[in-house]
C-alpha cells in the first residue's frame, strides 16, 4: 500500500523499500473541466549541490535535455496535452549514478507559455506526483496537490534528497509566479 503524503511530509525511501535502486517519478494532471484549449505542462529536475545550485547545465533535465550528464536521470519524453489517465510525464532515476556532491533533486512542473495562454495552476486539477520502484513496479508514495495554486505557473512538486546513505522524499507543493526559464536561473542554470 503506497503512502499518501501531505504537504511538508517526508518519507525515507530507502527504509520504506530497501530494494529500491531505480525510481520512477510519475507526474500527472488534468485541465480544469471548464477550461478550453490545451495545457502543456512540463516536468523537470534540478540536481543541486548543498549550495542549492546545479554544478552545470548537465544537471538540469527537461524536455529539451532528456538525460542528465551523469546518466542517472532520464526524462521519458514530453506530453503536450495531459490527456488520458495515469502519468503524463515520467522521470526515471538510477540512484547509484547520482554523484555524491548532489544533495537533492528538485522536481518541478511548469506550464508552457503560461503567460501567453493566460494559464496557471488554479486551472489545473488532479495534479500528483507518485514514486514507483521501477524494478518491482511497486508504488511507494503519492502526493496529491490539492491546494488552489491560482497565482502560480511553476510548482515544485517535491524533492528527493540524501539523508546519510539513505534517500528521502519530501512533498513540497510550493511554487512561483514564473516560468521554466526563471526557475532555471534561480537554480543556477546558465540559460541562453
Amino acid at each position: 500500500m503506497a503512502i499518501s503524503l501531505r504537504k511538508g511530509r517526508n518519507l525515507n525511501l530507502s527504509k520504506t523499500d530497501p530494494s529500491l535502486r531505480h525510481l520512477r517519478l510519475g507526474l500527472g494532471w488534468n485541465a480544469n473541466a471548464c477550461e478550453d484549449g490545451d495545457f502543456d505542462l512540463d516536468a523537470s529536475i534540478f540536481m543541486l549541490t548543498d549550495a542549492g545550485k546545479v554544478r552545470g547545465d548537465g544537471d538540469f533535465i527537461f524536455y529539451g535535455q532528456l538525460h542528465s550528464s551523469c546518466g542517472g536521470v532520464e526524462h521519458t519524453g514530453d506530453n503536450r496535452t495531459g490527456l488520458g489517465d495515469g502519468d503524463d510525464e515520467m522521470l526515471n532515476i538510477q540512484l547509484a549514478k547520482i554523484p555524491r556532491e548532489i544533495a537533492r533533486l528538485v522536481v518541478a512542473v511548469t506550464i508552457h507559455e503560461a503567460e501567453a495562454r493566460q494559464q496557471n495552476f488554479g486551472k489545473v486539477e488532479d495534479a500528483f506526483i507518485r514514486l514507483v520502484n521501477l524494478d518491482t513496479g511497486t508504488e511507494l508514495a503519492r502526493f496529491d496537490l490539492t491546494e488552489d495554486y491560482s497565482s502560480q505557473t511553476a510548482l515544485i512538486f517535491g524533492e528527493l534528497y540524501r539523508a546519510g546513505e539513505d534517500w528521502k522524499f519530501k512533498a513540497v507543493g510550493q511554487g512561483y509566479a514564473g516560468d521554466l526559464r526563471a526557475l532555471a536561473l534561480l537554480h543556477g542554470v546558465d540559460v541562453q
Binding site: 511538508g8 511530509r9 502560480q152 515544485i156 539523508a163 519530501k170 512533498a171 510550493q174
Partner: protein
C-alpha cells in the same frame, strides 16, 4: 561536539556543562524561497509547576511577553522572516533565577498563522532549535524540526527540568495541533 537529539532522549546539562549558569535556546530557519507568505517561527517558554501548569499568565514567555517576572527567562525578540545567518530567535534561561516552585521550563516552537498560510514545519527549510551554554556560547544539543516536525505546526521541542540539584534537558519532539493559543491553554494560560 554537540549532541544531536532524537525524540525522547535526554541530557544532563549540569554534567555536560558543569559550569552552566545560563542557557541560550536558539531557533533558526531558512527564509521562504518560493512565492507566498514568509515563514515566521516563534519560540516560547512555559514555566511549569509540578502539576504541569503555570502559576500565572506571567509564566508564559513569548513574542508579546519577552521577560518572565523573575527575570529568569528572556526572549530576545521576534524575527518574522528568518533572514540572516545564525539563530533567528533566542531565549535565555538563567537557571539560578528560576523560582523553586517551577519544576520545568517547556520550550515550544510554533509557526505563526500556520493554518491561514497553510504551512507546517516540513515546508520550512533547515528549521532547528539548539541549546547553548551562554558562557562561551558552546552548543550542547540540537534538534532538527524540518525533518522531525514534518506536518506539525506547533511543537514542544523540549524541556529543561530539575533533577535534584541538577538540570536536565529532554528532547520531547511532540507535535501539538492548533498552534500557540491552544498550546498555551493546555498549560493553564488564560489566553
Amino acid at each position: 561536539m554537540a549532541i544531536s537529539l532524537q525524540k525522547g532522549g535526554n541530557v544532563n546539562l549540569s554534567k555536560e556543562a558543569p559550569s552552566l549558569k545560563k542557557l541560550i535556546v536558539g531557533l533558526g530557519w531558512d527564509p521562504r524561497a518560493t512565492d507566498g507568505a514568509a515563514f515566521d517561527l516563534d519560540g516560547s517558554a512555559f514555566l511549569l509547576k509540578g502539576d504541569g501548569k503555570v502559576r500565572s499568565d506571567a509564566d508564559f514567555i513569548f513574542y508579546n511577553n519577552l521577560k518572565s517576572a523573575d527575570g529568569s527567562i528572556v526572549h530576545l525578540g521576534d524575527n518574522t522572516t528568518g533572514q540572516g545567518d545564525g539563530d533567528d530567535e533566542q531565549l535565555t534561561i538563567d537557571l539560578a533565577l528560576v523560582p523553586a516552585d517551577v519544576e520545568r521550563v517547556v520550550v515550544a516552537v510554533t509557526i505563526h498563522d500556520a493554518d491561514a498560510r497553510r504551512q507546517n514545519f516540513g515546508q520550512v527549510g533547515k528549521a532547528y532549535i539548539r541549546v547553548l551554554n551562554a558562557d562561551g556560547e558552546k552548543e550542547i544539543a540540537r534538534f532538527d524540526l524540518s525533518e522531525d516536525g514534518s506536518t506539525e505546526t506547533a511543537m514542544i521541542f523540549g524541556e529543561v527540568y530539575r533533577a535534584g540539584a541538577e538540570w536536565k534537558f529532554k528532547a520531547v519532539g511532540q507535535g501539538f495541533a492548533g498552534g500557540l493559543g491552544p498550546l498555551a491553554r493546555s498549560y493553564g494560560i488564560n489566553a
